[in-house]
Amino acid sequence: MIDGLANTISAAALVVAAVTAVLAYLQRRTPGVVTVAVLAVAAAVVVQAVIALVQLIAGHHPQEIATFIGYLLFSMLVLPATLAWAKAEPGRWGNGVLAVGCLTVAVMIVRMGQLWDVVGG
């Protein structure tokens, strides 16, 4: 993993989570720019998963490698699934779903970073 990229993704996901939570509170429709932002974070998550995968193959062994690979795979699925599930109700509750999804991704990336930095057997 590249710390700078992972931190940027977590921070961006948290910002989008906060924005969508506010939009949910205000009962506003999800603006197009927010959907684009979620897609951008989703793409960045895939990029960083591919980078981490290459580093794993190159020989980096994080602690709890099975858990790490689980996070790696699922981190890529969360936001596409979130967008699909939120789409049906683009108002208050769709924004709420996006907030949950973005928060989940932020936590997953932070957990991956913690596992990555502790090199195991």
């Binding site: 858990t67 689980g70 699922f74 599930w85 939120a86 709420g96 779903v97």
Partner: protein
């Protein structure tokens, strides 16, 4: 409001998203525990797998439509409430039996206690959408 409302729309859509998150977390955790270190604490890891199944079933049932998914959701969420209370208590009384965190250890403290709150919210939502005339 005699007709039951769908559990999957409105606030229920957010609830299903949260349940799906925990279905994912519990399933991944149980899979890793069972595959890599089953012999260390078979009971704790089997209970971890049970929690994963409960979250998966609750997610699917809450996202479904009609009376049967509603009944399944009620059973799953009730079981979830009992599970988090029992496993939470056991893990506090006998930490040695739970060497590794499960989603329900310490009443879900590893997940900012959301696993403890979630079944109450789930039961409240099922009650709110049931639509039966009471009296």
């Amino acid at each position: 409001m005699a007709e039951p409302r769908p559990t999957r729309t409105g606030f229920g859509r957010v609830l299903v998203a949260v349940y799906a998150t925990f279905a994912l977390a519990a399933t991944a955790r149980a899979a890793v525990q069972l595959l890599t270190q089953y012999s260390e604490a078979p009971l704790a890891y089997l209970l971890s797998a049970v929690s994963a199944v409960i979250y998966v079933v609750a997610t699917g049932a809450l996202a479904g439509r009609g009376p049967r998914p509603r009944a399944v959701a009620l059973a799953a969420v009730s079981f979830e409430l009992i599970g988090v209370l029992v496993i939470g208590t056991l893990s506090v009384l006998d930490p040695a039996a739970f060497p590794d965190q499960t989603v329900w250890s310490g009443y879900g403290q590893g997940y900012v206690y959301i696993p403890l709150v979630l079944p109450f919210v789930g039961l409240y939502w099922l009650y709110r959408t049931a639509g039966r005339v009471r009296g």
